[in-house]
Structures are given as structure tokens and as C-alpha cells.
Symmetry: C2
Subunit: 228 residues, 2 copies
């Protein structure tokens, strides 16, 4: 798993606890020189972009870039359409906070930047254990994206791979908290809440808040989340 | 191949002759209700966006949307970086006009919109015969993207497919000209040139101009391209 210290990686960084842990693994465990990439896509919880910048500084990313992409204008999600309420109780099926094809779009843009940077790896923090039922957080999604990346780029046509790494895929929230704490990550910098206010304070009621709180509790790690 | 007349499709529309023919096939041959999608991604030939709007009107698209996406800021291509000259003579290998992972990004965004619209098909005009050697214009790329789409979305998780259609894949430029002419497409509306001026007039020297001119000549169809 370990790569040489001069290896470059692009790391998708939302500002939440999962992608922060993912960046921590890429830098502190795998020794990559990391270029962190966030997206301003019309999400209602824009505080996560401020959090992402703080996390990138905290973990020594070589660079942090925020790419604007007008995904919200396509609609179809409570995360980008303020007329749709964020659910505050678990419900069966894929929730309305699912943003159509979001991880496909994000990985595609990460792949583009990886190719420009001649990066060897593209890290993303999706996980399939304690997740919200999103189809693009499953192992088969990552496998299919790797197969696409292996034919999609000039780099691939020249026989050099961009390896898609989803190191949190098999971890539950508690294991993610433990991994991050073990790497010395300051989770107080991260924002998970789907409807965080501009100061990054969490609602404590949405799916993302619930999973995060349960993760800290199960891990036996103090929860630094600021609630409003 | 034919779909019912009430089927919705998203069609990627650059404003060039290939995507215009692709839209013509989707509307006039396949009878789809078409939602055309263009990208303002920092390309130097912005005249193609004006052309795309004209083509969408001409072919009766139900809607035409231009999505802004800051792909140019990632760099790495003569199409988005004005400090890199557009080659005016054929050269071996993948040319510098290749935009890293562009078709991956465009198809990802097309897939997102298709999911929101509940469209059954996503059309794109890439072709592998008379092309410029771009890795993301090959059949194996489309096959891999279909496999990704089949696991990436809520729609897919519910067993409904977005079919990726690249009906020009096996056609050379001459065959594309003939197909488009047969559908009554006014190619004068289209702009292919990589360095078209703001009025849409072509340079006549870049790869895209050369392939287009050769296509009209081989098809025996009058070339309506305006050169500057």
C-alpha cells in the first residue's frame, strides 16, 4: 500500500471527517505529496469549504484548490435545492440528499487534475459500511471507475495508471474516527452536517450528524462537533 | 435502435459537426425528446457555444443548457491554455489539444442530468475513425463508461439504465457528413475549428479543420465552412 515519498496524489476533500481521514492516510501513512481538491457545487452546507481549507492546511497538503461546478443547477437533491428539506429521521431507500452522479463527476474532475499533475493516485473518502445508501459509495462503483480511468486518459494510453484509492471503503464510522485520531487529525476542524450554518455549527439531526455522532461514541473518542 | 417518441435523451452538444449529427440522429432518427448539454469549460473556441445554441434550435431540442465548469483552470491543454499554440500540422501521438479527462467529465455531467430528467439515453458524438487520437473517443472508453453508469446512480440501483449511445463511433468524417446531410442538418451552423474567431470563422489549418474539410470533400457534399 505504501508509495514512495515523492509520489503525487490528488485527494478529494469535502471538509468532512471521512475525507479528512483520507487525506491524513494519504499524507501521513502513505507519504504522498497531496493536492487537495474541493468542489463548490451549489451545496447548501458551504461551511464545508471553509473546513476543507483548514483541514488541508492542518494536514500539510501541497495545494488546495476549489473548483466551481454548477451541479446544483441540474437539481434533483436536497443538498443543492433549498426548497427540499433535509430529512431529519432515517428513511428506507436512497435518501433525497443523494446528488445525482456526484461522485462520478467529482472523480472525473479528480482524474483530470491527476493527469495534469502526473499524479499516481487519486484518493477519495467514500465508505460503504456506515453510509447513507448512496450508490456511488459502493466498492463496485470504485472498481468501475478504476476500469474507466484505465482507458480514459492519455496517461492510461501510455500505460501509466492513476490508481483510485478509497482507503475508507471497508471502515465503519467508528473505525474512521479511530484511524483519524491515530493520525493526529483534529476533527474539530471538520464539518459533516448537511445543513451546517455559516460558522460550521451542526444541526445534530440530519443523517450526516447522526452517523458522525454515533461514530465518535462507538470509538470512545471525544466528539468535538460544535452544535448550534 | 429506435426508441419510443416520448423517450427523453440528454445529448452532449459541442457545436461541431459531429455532435450536431448526433443530435440529429437522436431527434430525427430515434425520435427522442432531446435535452442538449454544452459546456463552457474555458475553451478558446467559445464560438462553438453560440453554434451549439443555433444547432439546438435548428434541430428542435426541447432544451439547451450550458454548464460552466472550470476545467481550463486545471490546465494541460492547448484548447484551454492560450499560452500553448494549437498545432497546425499533423504530429504523431496524442496531440496537445487533448483536454485531460474531458469526455469523462462531460459524460459524468450528462449522466447527472439524465438522472435528474429521468432520461433513458445519453448521446455523445465521439468517433474513433477519423479522429485526433484522443483516448476518450474510443469504443473501449464508451463501454467502460456504460459499465460505470450501470452502478453509479440511484436510477441504476433501481434497475433502470441510462444507455450511453455513441452512434458516430464507427463512422468516418465522410460518413458523418452524409448522415447529417441526409437528416437535413445545416452544417453552416456548426463550428469545428479549435481556434475559431468570435464570429465562428475557421482557421483552416488545425486538426479539426483538416478532418472536417476532408470529410466534406470525401462525401461529395458542399463545404459551408466560413474561413477567415
Amino acid at each position: 500500500m505504501h508509495v514512495a515519498a515523492d509520489r503525487r496524489a490528488v485527494v478529494l476533500l469535502s471538509g468532512g471527517m471521512d475525507s479528512a481521514t483520507c487525506l491524513g492516510l494519504a499524507t501521513r501513512r502513505d507519504g504522498c505529496r497531496c493536492h487537495a481538491l474541493s468542489f463548490d457545487y451549489g451545496q447548501r452546507h458551504r461551511a464545508e469549504l471553509t473546513a476543507a481549507a483548514a483541514v488541508a492546511r492542518h494536514l500539510g497538503a501541497a495545494e488546495h484548490r476549489v473548483l466551481r461546478i454548477d451541479l446544483g443547477s441540474l437539481g434533483g437533491s436536497a443538498l443543492t435545492d433549498r426548497s427540499l428539506p433535509v430529512p431529519e429521521a432515517p428513511a428506507p431507500g436512497i435518501p433525497i440528499t443523494y446528488v445525482p452522479a456526484r461522485n462520478t463527476v467529482f472523480l472525473a474532475l479528480g482524474l483530470a487534475w491527476a493527469e495534469v499533475l502526473e499524479a499516481d493516485c487519486l484518493y477519495a473518502g467514500m465508505n460503504a459500511v456506515d453510509y447513507s445508501g448512496y450508490p456511488d459509495c459502493r466498492p463496485e462503483f470504485v472498481t468501475a471507475f478504476q476500469a474507466l480511468a484505465d482507458v480514459a486518459t492519455r496517461r492510461a494510453a501510455q500505460g501509466r495508471r492513476v490508481e483510485i484509492r478509497a482507503p475508507l471503503m471497508a471502515l465503519g464510522k467508528a473505525a474512521i474516527v479511530q484511524a483519524g485520531a491515530g493520525l493526529g487529525i483534529d476533527f474539530a476542524l471538520t464539518v459533516s452536517c448537511y445543513q451546517a450554518d455559516d460558522a460550521g455549527r451542526a444541526c445534530g439531526r440530519c443523517d450526516a450528524c447522526r452517523l458522525r455522532r454515533e461514530g465518535f461514541a462507538a470509538a470512545g473518542v471525544a466528539d468535538p462537533t460544535r452544535y448550534r
